[in-house]
Amino acid sequence: MSLVSALIWLPFIGAIVTFVLGKRNEKLAFWSAYLTSGLLFVFALITFVGFSEPIVIETTWFSYGEIVVPFGFYIDSLALVMLLIATGLGFLDIHFSHDYMASDPHQPRYYAKVLFFIGGMIVLVSAKELTGAFVGWELMGLASYWLISFWHHQKAPADAGVSAFLFTKMGDIFLFAAMGLLFVAAGSFDFQTLNALATQGTIHPTLLYTVALFIFIAAIGKSGQFPLFPWLMRAMEGPTTVSALIHGATMVNSGIYIVARLFDFYVASQTLLIIAGVGALSAFIGASSALVQKEMKKILAYSTMSHLSLAFIGLGAGSLAMGMAHLTNHAIFKALLFLSAGAVIMSAAHTKDIFKLGGLERKMPLVALFMLVGAMSLSGIPPFSGFFSKDAIIASTIANTSTLIATFTFVAGLLSIAYITRLWVMLFLGTPRNETIYHKTTAPSNFWIALPLGIMAALTLLMGFYQEELKHFIDAKEAHEAHMGWLMPLLFVLMALLVGVVYLFYFRRADVRDKLAAQPLMKSIHQVLFNGYYIEKMIFWFAHTMVVQGIARAIFWFDRYVVDAFIDAVPKIAKSITDTLGKTHNVAVGYQSSVMLLGVVIVLFVLLLKGLV
């Protein structure tokens, strides 16, 4: 009980303390945040060690009449996994920030917001009811806006923050609508009750379907799936440590988490195939767009989209444990990749364009090694953690879903190795493409930068050997697992082939690549992929022509000619009512007393007439 409340309150109290202390002394901000996040991780760890059955805390937020809004906490193995990810990676992230944010003049603000962000995630994953989860969900939405637009004095980050806010808000509306529907139909916000009700079939199927779909739309927004993903790429404008936090430890996981939390509900609602379908499409869009990006963070952002989709597909294919296992593995190796990228950016004079870097392996061998571990896990090479969960998901799509979904998933999974190899090769191998940047590059600190990377790399490797335990911990009743059979060797052959192609094009024969890229057809394909299939442009076009030009204009007309006309009439009407009513008042005392008595007489007369008495 006390440990859970400490977990809930500490980040917010810590955020305030960090800010206040930081205002007195810049250095204190880091140490305060460091201590707070460290404590959070220790608390989560203690909860994990002592965990035997779900911790339940029931509290009421407010109640009036028959309306009771609960705000309870429920920590089971699923929530615990998320807590460990959020607090553990959050701690490493803050450790990493010590050097990464060292020259920033607004450190108190930064650390306070990061703690607030982690706090939002903790509230979300520990919530017993949808109401509490919604509060955490929105706290995190706010914090992500703050952090993405952390450098808000520049235009791009400020816009990116707004973009993230609007895209996720689009989904949030549906979550809120789903809550309303559930309250009317099921009378409960409790996750476990909802799961049970759905399984028993107490909730009307159509309603069940609608609610499941609404919540999934919210999850799409938060987890950056098709079509609400463009904010994920724009969010790269924030500090890289924030990207690692959003893409690894917290925010994007929340969409998947909420679907996983309501997994039985989703199974009963018959929407799993939709989830798998949207996931497969997003996985393909993400993986193929990642192939051609120039900025290393954008590559990783598209990769996040693609891999979260894999987790969604895992859920959609009917396996809670598989989806969550991939989410866990992804959280760790993606945080590793992002922070490695952050280390490179920081050391290489804030260069993000991979075409300006190269040969950095000589400058920072440790970072190169750790990033390679992350890359191999992402590609699905045994014995790293990514291999187990990713291949299991591909196998189960083949067994449980349609061929189309399975194909998309297979291709998306396959492409991972291509874009990540491209990234790694461009960064670390070959000769430097820009001598000035190369000479400016200095090796980062071992303790503050390389150590957290090393820990995450070790975890990535270690998790590979504990996959069965992880799945079992998340969902004890996990049954039969599909196997790829003959596809496995094929996958490996294709992967090897892709590595070869990438190696050839980006290392040995860049001239061939450039010639190919100059071809008109290749150029246009490149443009489509580079711009993320123009989804953002389409959304803006839609928003502009349909909403701004169409609906807004109609509303404007209505406002100008109907509402305004009405509003203009209101004062006149009100004035005439006032004047009429004003006539009932007279300052003469005699008149006033007469009114009183007249009132009494009328009242009694009417009451008598109505036969009251």
Binding site: V589, Q592, L598, L612, V613
Partner: protein, 435 residues
């Protein structure tokens, strides 16, 4: 020992204390002791009086507001009168029988008249006379009503029973109509339009905020059972009164320029809301509704009238033009006024919002959806003139500076009242626990 005894004692002793120039401190101590006794739930040791938790809670609120008024007040005689009114309020709130109710009400009524008898200007004389005459009529009505009710064969030494004949019903209704005078419900409201606008703002704060809400709570306490049993027609009559009162008050306030007059109309409109609690008498939420509304109302209304009192040499003459740009002259007063006006308008996180919300919920719960809807429209209408005042304060240029007479203690008083508005706007369970 009850708050009544203590306050009467302190009021009497205050004549001796006044020459020593320590009257404020003395009165605050007296009110603190009264506050503590109410907290202990002490009742008046006379037959016919009892202190329920709800009553004790409201007494505490009244005493807190009175402390603020004392801190605000410069005139010694007003402080003495205030202590007497506090004693009478205790009596009225705790009365359980019809006789004790009538007598306490008369005590409060007479004390109000004595309070306003401290006349300094011609306008105050006008206000005082109107209050006196209306009060006299009410007294006549209340005793006539009590007489008819007794003729019907009931004892006045107990709570209200169901009358046997029309005579008893008429008697009870006459008493309600007499109470309407204190509550300023149409048709017993006309005196208040002039009195509230012309009397010294301190007097108005006491009359319109304290005695009105005390009377409302007491009326609800003694009449609730009768209204539930006596049939729907009673409720319909009350609905008509409530809706006419709030509509009249809001519409008249809409185009008024004089500040005290706007607040007077607003006070009448708020009385209409208070009456809704009686309409919703059959709902189990009605008691928390009226308690909440009264708590919210007493803080914001007294704060605003007291604040107007320090805005110039002749506060009752102030128009909206005079307070233009107040923000530039005194930021704190402008902010305080804005917050209290927002509370009156019913903006969330302020007590006025929850008061209305809880009350309207009770009305809906009692089944009168349309009534709640009309009340809601009225509430929206009222934002029109409240927001207008705020607009004048913040968005207009100051043409000539005002002669503010703000002291340190009056600041403290305003902060106490603001704390009340904020606290009860957020921590709703405090009130629910007592209702």
């Amino acid at each position: 020992m009850s708050a009544f005894v203590i306050l009467s004692l302190f009021a009497l002793l205050s004549f001796a204390i006044e020459p020593l120039n320590r009257l404020k401190l003395f009165a605050v101590i007296g009110l603190m002791v009264a506050l503590f006794l109410s907290y202990q739930g002490c009742a008046v040791i006379l037959s016919g009086f009892d202190a329920t938790p709800q009553v004790s809670f409201f007494e505490m609120i009244v005493f807190i507001v009175m402390i603020a008024v004392v801190l605000h007040e410069q005139e010694g005689i007003n402080i003495t009168q205030l202590l007497f009114i506090g004693a009478a309020s205790t009596l009225l709130l705790q009365s359980q029988t019809l006789l004790s109710f009538i007598l306490s009400f008369e005590a409060l009524s007479i004390l109000s008249m004595i309070l306003v008898a401290f006349i300094q200007t011609k306008e105050e004389a006008d206000g005082a006379i109107k209050l006196f005459i209306a009060g006299a009529i009410a007294t006549a009505l209340i005793f006539m009503g009590a007489g008819l009710y007794a003729l019907d064969g009931h004892s006045l030494l107990q709570g209200i029973e169901m009358p046997h004949t029309p005579l008893g019903h008429i008697g009870l209704w006459l008493i309600v109509l007499a109470l309407f005078y204190k509550l300023t419900i149409v048709p017993m409201h006309s005196w208040a339009i002039d009195s509230y606008a012309n009397l010294s703002p301190t007097h108005t704060a006491i009359l319109s905020a304290i005695t009105k809400s005390v009377a409302a709570i007491a009326l609800f306490g003694i009449y609730q059972d009768y209204l539930v049993e006596a049939g729907i027609i009673n409720l319909y009559a009350l609905i008509v009164f409530a809706l006419i009162t709030m509509t009249l008050g809001n519409f008249l306030a809409l185009f008024t320029q004089r500040l005290t007059q706007i607040l007077a109309y607003s006070s009448i409109a708020q009385a209409g809301y208070l009456l809704l609690a009686l309409v919703a008498a059959q709902s189990q939420h009605a008691s928390s509704g009226i308690l909440y509304m009264a708590v919210a109302y007493i803080f914001m209304q007294s704060s605003l009238f007291l604040m107007v009192g320090v805005l110039g040499k002749k506060p009752t003459h102030l128009t909206l033009k005079d307070i233009q740009g107040l923000h530039h002259q005194d930021k704190l007063t402008a902010l305080l006024m804005t917050l209290q006006l927002f509370s009156l308008a019913g903006i969330p996180l302020l007590a006025g919002f929850l008061g209305k919300a809880v009350l309207f919920y009770a009305v809906v719960d009692a089944g009168f959806y349309i009534v709640a809807f009309i009340a809601l429209l009225n509430s929206a209408l009222s934002v029109g003139y409240y927001a207008w005042i705020i607009k004048e304060i913040y968005f207009e240029k100051q043409t000539h500076p005002m002669e503010l007479s703000i002291t340190q203690t009056s600041r403290v008083a305003q902060l106490i009242l603001l704390l009340g508005t904020l606290y009860f706007g957020i921590f709703a369970y405090t009130v629910f626990a007592y209702a």
